[in-house]
Amino acid sequence: MAVRTEPFVLNMGPVHPSTHGVFRMRVTLDGEVVVDIEPIFGYLHRGIEKLAEQRTYTGIIPLTDRLDYISSMSNNFAYCLAVEKLAGIKVPERAEYIRVIIAELQRVAALLIAVGAFLNDCGAFFTPFLYMFRERERIVDLFEMVSGQRLTYNYMRVGGVSQDLPDEFMPALRKFMNMMPRFMAEYDRLLVQNEILIARAKGVGILTGEQAINCSASGPVLRASGVKWDIRKADPYSIYDRFDFAIPTQTTGDCYDRYRQRVEETRQSLHIIRQAMEQIPSGPVRAELPQLIRPPAGEAYAHIEAPKGELGFYLVSDNSIAPYRCHIRPPSLINLTALRDMVRGWKIADLIIIFGSIDITVGEIDR
């Protein structure tokens, strides 16, 4: 018997437990099945790009902290690279290594949150989330040592980092690095073979490699679809060409693959940190620069592989102390454009986990 049904519109958000901030979706539903969605954002708009035009080049760094507040260090890093490219500044060796260590630690922390939040969306009642937070806490402790902050670090500077690593940092990092493989194994034991997780996530929300490229997705979302593209290898910045690491990829591009991809990337990050810890030289951590940086007129685009994907800063200078234009390419926003294709035909519960598996931060989408 065919029952005649009528689609209805459900307004999900801006305040909803699993929209990862203030994000709103207008979902058209046929019973439980998602017919169409329309993402609406802008609830967290702070005008960071415009604010940047009135600030000095150093003064913009705290603003970048507020973009993807889960990975502030990566934002600092990308911005500083852009200014250095614009002004042609050479960064001291030690600072480069510190930056890499910090950025990779930040990647681990951000991916842990991504995985935890994804599992939370799957309905595991906060247990994985809090387990992941337990390890993130250790990383945040390390960041607190170097920068004094626990969320918006404001640590990196144009031409280096704000201060050298404190003496207790390296032993603490070594301790963390020794513990981490055990924790990773623990997560795998709990989750990889979990029947319900597999039933929920495998084959759900498939994004093919072609689709991913067409909507310029990047980061784990792209690589989970089987495209081997990582800016650390494709366009090496900083000193990433000195490290030996692999680019893990998955095949199908479903939610489960995106989860696996993040776990694998965490492993590679730990591998990079280990190499950097061995190679790190001593020396200055900041280039000799004037108080106010006045880059020559021109433009520069620098991009890094942030935890969520390609994070780019496009700066235009008119030889003043503030940029003429600062454009940010946020990976969350671009990855989100794939959402509509991924969720159509799936159920509400799937919509939530597909959305969770893209891993967005609204601070970055709305800027």
Partner: protein, 375 residues
């Protein structure tokens, strides 16, 4: 009873009013009504505390520990908070239904305890159709929940309520079929008689029945991993999204009172109810209820939630056939007249049967496509 007379007097005719109770029928009734309400409310507070502390421990947190010694007064503080909160009713709500829903949902959870024995013959009404009464009464909560979903005129609420009805209708069947196995062995529908018959706890004689009942019971009362009627990450709070203040507290109470009720039924049917050495019967009963509830807390912290179509598939493709098998095998054993002195053999046989059935059928379940059904 030789002849079955179907009149209302027979249904409420107590087979065993303990002779040492002071007074007659009405005193008995009054005493137990007060005891049951007190017991359920105390247990609800207790299990909320256990759940919050237990969950916190499993999630490497501390949980409530500020209110009173070890945070024991946290449920009291919560109760005071919700009592003082404003009661908000949406403009578009169906006022009467919205108001009535928490009551309709809450009453059955209390009524179940009318037939649950706290000791030998210590119960409000030793109905000779006790377990049938439990099954019938526990379904009434669904009506209350659907009323809440419909009456709040909120789309999340309606989705949650629809899911709840779908789940309860499906899970009633394996639930009842799992009970039938116990009924066959004990030879009675009265809960007290079932406990009396449990020289060996039925969890040993009916391991498969226990698993089925536990899974179906969890689904029936919206415990994780079947908690998708109030899936907080999907549909905010499901059917009670639009409730606040004391009405919300009623639903909160329903949730835990039902959890206590289903734990009590499991303890009675499968774990030997009030029977046990040394400790007084009622204490044994409480301990067993808490053990069962703790198992539910454990699953809640461990497992992700399943999807609505998987929920249905799990009921119809897995639990339903399994419960039929279980019933068939139990019926054969009872019909063949398994000798009482060979109970230990029956335990081994039944555990083996359970292991084989679960393994084989879960393999088949994957072949059938693990919940890919069209709804």
């Amino acid at each position: 009873m030789a002849t079955i007379e179907l009149n209302i007097y027979n249904l409420v005719n107590f087979q065993s009013i303990p002779p040492d109770w002071p007074g007659g029928f009405w005193w008995h009734w009054l005493f137990f009504t007060v005891v049951i309400i007190g017991f359920v409310l105390t247990m609800v507070m207790g299990v909320i505390y256990i759940e919050r502390r237990g969950m916190a421990r499993m999630q490497s947190r501390l949980g409530p520990n500020r209110t009173g010694p070890f945070g024991l007064l946290q449920p009291v503080a919560d109760a005071i908070k919700v009592l003082l909160k404003e009661n908000i009713v949406p403009d578009a709500a169906d006022k009467l239904i919205h108001w009535l829903a928490p009551v309709v949902a809450f009453a059955p959870a209390l009524m179940i305890f009318a037939v649950v024995p706290f000791g030998n013959g210590v119960l409000l009404a030793d109905l000779n159709v006790g377990i049938l009464y439990v099954v019938a009464i526990s379904s009434v909560s669904t009506v209350g929940i659907f009323m809440a979903g419909w009456g709040s005129s909120n789309k999340y609420s309606l989705l949650g309520a629809m899911r709840n009805v779908a789940a309860v209708v499906s899970y009633e069947i394996p639930l009842v079929l799992a009970i039938v196995g116990v009924v066959l062995i004990s030879g009675s529908l009265s809960l007290n008689q079932m406990v009396v018959a449990q020289d060996v706890p039925f969890i040993l004689l009916q391991p498969l029945g226990f698993l089925l009942f536990f899974a179906a019971g969890c689904a029936e009362i919206n415990r994780s991993p079947f908690d998708l009627m109030e899936a907080d990450s999907e549909i905010v709070a499901g059917f009670h999204t639009e409730y606040s203040g004391m009405k919300f507290a009623m639903f909160y109470l329903v949730e835990y009172a039902e959890a206590v009720a289903i734990s009590a039924i499991i303890a009675t049917l499968f774990l030997g109810g009030w029977r046990g050495p040394i400790l007084p019967p009622w204490l044994w009963f409480v301990v067993k209820v808490i053990i069962v509830f703790f198992a539910m807390v454990w699953t809640r912290t461990t497992l992700p939630r399943i999807r609505i179509d998987q929920l249905m598939a799990f009921a119809w493709k897995f639990l339903f056939p399994m419960s039929l098998f279980n019933l068939f095998i139990t019926a054969l054993q009872v019909l063949a007249g398994w000798p009482t002195e060979l109970v230990w053999a029956m335990i081994i046989v039944n555990f083996a049967v359970m292991a084989i059935l679960v393994l084989v059928w879960s393999k088949l379940f994957f072949k059938l496509g693990r919940g890919r059904i069209e709804v």
